[in-house]
Amino acid sequence: MNDESTHLMDDESTPLVEVYNLKKYFPVTGGFFRRKIGDVKAVDDVSFQLFRGETLGLVGETGCGKTTVGRTLLRLYKPTSGQIIFDGEDLTALGEEELRKKRSRMQMIFQDPYASLNPRMTVGNIIGAPLDVHRSMSSKERHDYIQGLLDIVGLNPDFVNRYPHEFSGGQRQRIGIARALALEPDLVVCDEPISSLDVSIQAQVVNLLEELQKQIGLTYIFIAHDLSMVRHISDRIAVMYLGKIVELADRDDIYLHSLHPYTQALMSAVPIPDPDLANKRNRIILEGDIPSPKNPPKGCNFSTRCPIAQDRCFSEEPEFREIKKDHWVACHFAEDSL
């Protein structure tokens, strides 16, 4: 599929997206006057780059902040601090009107196929909504364009006047994809697009996404908790835990030479549909529960569950650094795994 994945920077030396020290905290209110008593540190100092035409996979478990990263990237949330540079422009510095215009270049596909489409609008109007906001097209042009989009995603173009409730989950997800493509964006953030779908339909949608990427030249951020699927579709992968990226590397590096104990534990926990391997694997079973992002541990976020945690880990936060080329880790003892 994407063997040449890591070398897609051939036409651009500058990345499409650069994120520096992004933080998004949500206030926790309490007490009689609903004062702010703390923060949920959903995204806590995240930095990465995204190159044109590549797929960056963002994985992690509950509370890791991957969905928040996706939404903050699109400025659906206002970042608490940090910078988001999209094609050279700093999104955090833009005013409302300029930001609205930028939206046509970055779109999102949502997780829940049942909640992401307005049940009272026809499919045609759902897909056409972006066009109504950003382009002026004649009625016929619009109709033809929408039918073209339906065709691209593999749906019968005659379905323009139908309502979402007449379709299955997989079909609705395709409608969502058509909507995201309407403005010919550069970047598409896929927020768990297949988690709610049946297994046999997941492959259909993923194949469609890959096909579209090849045909149109899209850049994806693929957010999911299904590691096997993320590995299949991504060129590079970022593993998140409790608001921070703990490891970021090429797909193969992450799977064959992971350096962070959490990544290793995560890999070993993913079920493989093969009974022979299942029993031979070296399972790292983590103790305890995932801490709450309202109250992250002191020092390294992972220290409470880490099998190799030592004193330093409980008091000092590890730095997110480039250990070897294009392989970033946040662990005091990453060198030991090299």
Binding site: V199, Q202, A203, S228, I272
Partner: protein, 332 residues
């Protein structure tokens, strides 16, 4: 040795305003004592509904068990009335569900709920039951079990709640534990913990487990035998190795082919199964999978295939052309 539970021709229908939903169609199989059986399929295949039917937990109306027998310890469970059935539920056959937040009553402490379950089915006094509840929580790996008895469900994390559910299910030492998608809602690392726990408990206590899920990865680790269901019927059944290594039904083959694997070589393509699962309101006459099957013939569309043995073993498949397909697969 007689099987622990034997299901014969189970049929369940739902009578709705839109028509009759054929949720479970002629399901027959048996389980031995202490066996771990995986029941696999996607949404609408009937895996959950058939288990609920066995326990007579189908709401009537609109559902109705229209036929079949479920033989357990010499009785046909479907013939028992509600009072007798209640004695079986919880004591002989226990069930745990996907979302522990809604299966545990949020207004009672966890300890209270386990004690309640114990006192319904055994003669333990309140004090003895509480002791036993504490032991159970320790057994399922909840630290500080004695104090946690007085906590409410919302004070437990997702993984802990599922453990509490398992403790409740095991409280009366059932012979069969039915687990309906117990780890689907859990994070991967927590799921690994729970699978580990259940495997250990099964070895220690020796009960039979029916693990219902859509995740073919999970059953590969858990199960000894697997039933693959589609549109309300079992379409393939056999030992774990047979199902994964000698897959015979085109649906199962397609399903395994559409799953990405962590150990796939890079560049592996996913072969998606085209089309949609059938509408249970209007099941076709012939094979339910025919519309999506690359190997279908007119016979498939006209006549529903029966379950046949593969190589005279206990691996069974319901497909007219399984032999030819196997031959083709071998040549590829």
């Amino acid at each position: 040795m007689a099987p622990l539970i034997e299901i014969k021709n189970l049929n369940t229908r739902f009578f709705t305003a839109d028509g009759v939903v054929k949720a479970v169609n002629d399901v027959s199989y048996s389980m031995e004592s202490g066996e771990i059986l995986g029941v696999v399929g996607e949404s609408g295949c009937g895996k959950s509904v058939h288990a609920l039917s066995m326990m007579q937990l189908i709401p009537d109306p609109p559902g109705k068990i229209t036929g079949g027998e479920v033989w357990f310890e010499g009785h046909d469970l479907l013939e028992l009335d509600e009072r007798e059935m209640r004695k079986v539920r919880g004591r002989d056959i226990a069930m745990i569900f996907q979302d522990p937040m809604s299966s545990l009553n949020p207004v009672f402490t966890v300890g209270h709920q386990i004690v309640e379950a114990l006192r319904i089915h055994t003669d333990l006094t309140k004090k003895e039951a509480r002791e036993r509840a504490g032991e159970l929580l320790t057994l399922v790996g909840i630290p500080g079990a004695k104090t946690r008895l007085d906590d409410y469900p919302h004070q437990f994390s997702g993984g802990m709640r599922q453990r509490a559910m398992i403790a409740m299910g095991l409280s009366c030492m059932p012979k069969l534990l039915i687990a309906d998608e117990p780890t689907t809602a859990l994070d991967v690392t927590i799921q690994a913990q729970i699978i580990d726990l259940v495997k250990n408990l099964q070895q220690e206590l020796g009960m039979a487990i029916m693990w219902i899920t859509h995740d073919l990865g999970v059953v590969a680790e858990m199960a000894e035998r697997i039933n693959v269901m589609y549109a309300g019927s079992i379409i393939e059944s056999g030992k774990v190795n047979d199902i994964y290594k000698q897959t015979r039904h085109p649906y199962t083959i397609g399903l395994l082919g559409s799953l990405p694997r962590l150990d796939d070589p890079p560049g592996t393509e996913l072969t998606a199964i085209p089309g949609l699962p059938p509408d249970l309101l209007a099941l076709p006459e012939g094979c339910a999978f025919a519309a999506r099957c690359a190997y279908r013939t007119e016979k498939c569309v006209a006549e529903k295939p029966s379950l046949v043995e593969v190589d005279g073993s206990d691996h069974i498949v319901s497909c007219w052309h399984w032999e030819e397909i196997a031959g083709k697969q071998a040549n590829e």
